[in-house]
Amino acid sequence: MTSSPVLAQRGPEPGQPGADGPVFVAADKARRARRPRALIAAAMLIAAVLALPLIFLLIEASGSGAGADARLIFRPLTAELLWNTVRLTVVVTALCAVIGTAAAWCIERTNVPGRKIWAVLVVVPLAIPDFVVSFGWASLWSWIHGFRGAVIVMTLAVYPLVYLPVAASLRGADPGQEEVARSLGSGRVRTFVRITLGQARGAILGGCLLVAMVMLAEYGAFEIVGYQTFTTEIFTEINVAFSLPAACALALVLVLLSLVVLAAEGSLRGRGRISRSGALAQRVPAPYRLGKARIPALAGLIALTGLSLGVPVGSCLYWMASGGRDSLTGVSMPMAALTTALYGLLSAGLATLMALPVALLAVRHPGGARRFLERSTYLVLAMPGVVIALALSYFTERYLGGFGYQTAPLLILAYAIMFFPLALVGVKASLARAPVSLDEVARSLGQPRLKVLVRVTLRLTGPGLVAAFCLVFLSVITELTATLILIPTGVQTLASQFWVYETNLSYGQAAPFALVMIAVAAIPSWVLGRFFDRGAADPRMMT
């Protein structure tokens, strides 16, 4: 090192601290840390917007009188819908848990041939909208119908929601624990059940929660296989029977059902957290040798991808090739694709922007009331798209005289509210990974808070923000329920135009829209896959 006068050099900045500008003067009595007022205000506003659907449901429920509500709720139809919804949700969630976990274990932990290829192929169905899977199966075979059809279609459509977190968790798990268990005399099966599954427990539960929520919210896939659930019935009440009170009454039951699922998952998860002791270097465990079981494992993976990926895509290709041009006309494909992309980009941007203040508050300025504020936004999780669309249309009809109803801004707002929890998860996770000490260093180097946010915090959270954006974008372009209710007149997205053709049995014209949707959704899915690869074991991170 050389001695240099540069060290003692003074910059053009004034020599005294605080020489320029006013000094922040705090109330003398309470010399406490300054509250991030702007952040709190923004977060409160966002929480209020997110609470809109629930508020309007409650207003409606109390407004129309308890008697009227009770009459609408306590009728044989409700019981039937409840039975249909619950039974389907339970069966599909269980099947997805088994299939998703088994596939994750085979691909992550065994020597099944072609692990890398399977790891990609098994996730791709996430990019295929549920109603396209349903269309692919039901348009080919008429026996895909009712309960049986719904179980097959939905299991094949949503099992990746379990696979992804479980695979990530198995990859991040400490292989030493399994080795210790074996060395302590625990057999292979016992070790698998007690250690391997134990480590993945949180991920499995998280995946199951996502599956159950999708089941409660799904409309298109059930409509195609002719299976009636709460969501399909609410949709019919709004769009066919035009009976908002009846729809609201049913929506209340549906929201309660969602809350039950959320609470059940929360209590099953318990307080235990999986922890790795120490900062050990990540070690890749030796793959489990399947021996003769390699053949059935391989056959299983081939069957899984064939049924979940091959059939829907093959079916679309078949209809495209065989179906001639129909007399039906709609908007052109490029027009619909453009509209879809525009809605997707705008709502993904809005949702990410809304998530930012809430996540900043939760991660950087934790506190009792602020934590409650953040947690309250998760209530949106219990709001299926149909309920949010219903609440927003009801609001515009009742309080704004129909102003804003079926306009693009309202639809985008509906999307942003609906997928806000997804955005929040991504933003929170990436913020948590950006160390606070970097913010502090930046401030000590003379940068004001806002500049620190732009120059350091946002730069570091970039990948997470992109992931959150992609997650919302992906969800928006494959969304059907709220789209059908709120889409502006004369405008079609890929999904809604597909739906028009499908319901008119113009399969040849519907199929190309489905294929384009899959192609567009594949890009953000791939980005997301990369994000999960980097070790977000629990996609929700609801800590």
Binding site: T2, P17, R449
Partner: protein, 379 residues
């Protein structure tokens, strides 16, 4: 001249009082170490100084400006404090050059002066030519140097270093420490270093402030701190210490190891002045006596045996048995149980390498004065 003055500083987190009436003055241009065990509030103190935490009471004065005091709080970005956190905390998305230049505003400095200063600083910390690298391409020691250059770039009033060497490998630590020390001296920057490592504090700093019970228990040069600790706990905290009872009589003290001369006595005693507790009166008083391990001479065998040398000054010394022996190459640390009093705590002795001593063998101990004695209070 005092560059950083802390007076009556209080800080609590909930019910936990971390800092309590803390006073500390840091002279301009000095390197002051704040030494304390983990959990003693070192980092909290640093964070209050940097403006990341608000003090509950008291004043922090940086240069001539009050940074934290009644009705005043200067936010972190206005304090001109160069903060070097434990892990360096370089911005991972910026190059080394951009890291160093982070605090230099483009508007005030201009592009050319900014990059010139940045290059000069990197040269000064011995990392010239690495300006285009990213932090993950640097070693731990290099990262710490960049972090220091980044802190010095804004010509700070005070540099705060939070255990900056803790995350480095042992062999790297000494060299980086020496470089940083030299660099801070050359720049003439007032610096405060927080550490839990006594060696680090004593070997690096001009002044060492020991943090205890939420306040500064003693602030002195490393030499003073080692030779004149304020009490027995401080003596044990700074290096190894034998604290044994004795009878103080004027300027000498009678102990297990014979009659020893007393120096300087207790600084607190001096400050308290005469008259208190009859301290300067005649007569004998019980006291606790500090004897550092290197102040004890160890001779194999007993005074009667052939191995033992002639007794100095008629003092026959203390015989004992070796109960523990730790060999360190340049020296050896031996614990000896006095034979005269089997219940007394064993004495620690440092000897220069030499003869192999075995556990259980008999030795003779003689102390070399002068020693420190603290009169017992409240008897």
């Amino acid at each position: 001249m005092t560059q950083l003055a802390i007076a009556g500083l209080d800080k609590r987190f909930g019910a936990h009082q971390v800092l309590c009436g803390l006073n500390l003055d840091v002279p301009a241009g000095s390197l002051t170490a704040i030494l304390g065990p983990s959990g003693s509030g070192k980092t909290t103190l640093l964070r209050v100084l940097a403006g990341f935490e608000h003090a509950d009471a008291g004043t922090v004065r940086i240069g001539s400006a009050v940074a934290d005091g009644p009705g005043v709080f200067l936010p972190a970005e206005r304090r001109r404090i160069g903060y070097v956190p434990q892990e360096g905390s370089l911005f991972p998305h910026l190059t080394v050059a951009a890291n160093v230049a982070f605090g230099l505003s483009r508007r005030k400095w201009g592009r050319e002066r900014r990059s010139k200063r940045c290059a000069d600083l990197l040269e000064a910390v011995g990392l010239g030519g690495l300006d285009r690298r990213y932090p993950h391409q640097l070693s731990g020691g290099q990262q710490q140097r960049v972090a220091l250059a980044r802190a010095l770039a804004i010509a700070p009033e005070v540099v705060l270093l939070d255990e900056p060497f803790a995350s480095l490998d042992a062999h790297l630590r000494a060299s980086v420490r020496a470089d940083v020390q030299q660099l801070l001296k050359e720049s003439g920057t007032t610096s405060v270093l927080v550490t839990h490592d006594q060696d680090e504090a004593l070997s690096t700093a001009d002044r060492v402030a020991v943090l205890r019970d939420g306040g500064i228990a003693q602030c002195a040069t490393p030499q003073e701190l080692y030779s004149c600790p304020v009490d027995a706990d401080m003596a044990r905290f700074i290096g190894e210490a034998n604290v044994i009872p004795g009878i103080l009589n004027g300027s000498s003290v009678q102990t297990l190891l014979g009659l020893l001369a007393v120096t300087g006595t207790d600084p607190a005693e001096d400050r308290a002045g005469p008259g208190r507790n009859g301290s300067d009166g005649p007569g004998q008083r019980p006291a606790m006596v500090l004897i550092r391990p290197e102040q004890v001479e160890l001779v194999p065998g007993t005074p009667g045996s052939a191995g033992a040398g002639p007794a100095a000054g008629g003092d026959t010394g203390l015989t004992g048995r070796i109960t523990g022996y730790g060999y360190h190459g340049h020296d050896a640390v031996v614990t000896v149980q006095p034979e005269r009093d089997p219940h007394a705590p064993p004495l620690t002795v440092r000897t220069l390498g030499g003869a192999a001593l075995s556990t259980g063998s008999r030795v003779t101990l003689r102390a070399r004065g002068p020693v420190i004695a603290w009169p017992q209070r409240g008897d």
